[in-house]
Symmetry: C2
Subunit: 162 residues, 2 copies
């Protein structure tokens, strides 16, 4: 849940250790995320800072978020976003007549090829997680990023996706 106040310092210090500078905009963004109970978009961060009388340009916020993400200090929340890349459901394990609509995708970061897979162990994980966290799970989404068989083979040259 809520982070300790010191966590801002821990995060900023982690950046400094890696050679980054501790700047006022970076401090403000980390503090803002540290304070918030919910995930925030770049513009939400900017607006909230502005409401506190602090002005940080949106471009800077984008660059700061990128930096924080690269250094594993923040993560993105995907399911609640709105940009969409769509694909037909897999014909084989077609969802048409199923009650559960699970989406487990293997995504090749090289050629963009996407394969839908079954994850037999997921049901158990869902139940476990729900029980541990007292959380009612309505749906889930799992994606793997990596290299498909083709792109993995050493003799395969780069593809211009599709």
């Amino acid at each position: 849940m809520s982070h300790t106040k010191k966590y801002t310092e821990v995060a900023l210090h982690a950046l400094k250790e890696k050679g980054y500078r501790i700047t006022k905009p970076r401090r403000l963004v980390v503090e803002m995320l540290n304070t918030s109970d919910i995930a925030l978009s770049a513009y939400e961060i900017r607006d909230r800072l502005e409401a506190e009388g602090e002005k940080v340009d949106k471009v800077s916020i984008y660059r700061i978020l990128e930096c924080l993400e690269e250094n594993h200090l923040i993560h993105r929340v995907l399911m609640t976003g709105k940009v969409r890349k769509c694909q037909l459901e897999d014909e084989d394990h077609c969802h048409l007549n199923q009650a559960d609509h699970c989406h487990h995708l293997l995504i090749c970061e090289q050629c963009g090829f996407i394969e839908e897979v079954h994850c037999p162990g997921m049901n158990r994980i869902v139940q476990q997680v729900a029980e541990d966290a007292q959380f009612t799970v309505k749906s889930h989404h799992l994606e793997f990023l990596g290299l498909c068989q083709k792109c993995n083979s050493p003799h395969h040259k780069k593809t211009a996706a599709n």
Copy 2:
């Protein structure tokens, strides 16, 4: 991988069964997705159709995708999109000094609260999936959507997220 040509008809027929009309724009979008090896954005679909001499307005494409998604005929690919909602890494299982940066999130669709969880069984699933599909997994991202303990309780009134 590639879908059969008839799959377009199967999908459109499934819509009709539910009372939707089979229109030319809907047919074109489904055919386009059916043809493509990779996931496409709304604008990519429009541009590709236009290159084939077919004109479908972007707004229509958005509405068609929404319809297809609601009826489980397509799914979204999330990891390759760019809209971002960000959150600080959890302080407890902090990623700072870890080699693996897993992101397993419980997201409350009511209040927006997000909890990061460990999924002990995931490693096995990753290995299994990678082996079955001959896929090199570099990272993965798992999200659960549902209700947190608070929002789940009957006496809890709706929250205006944060």
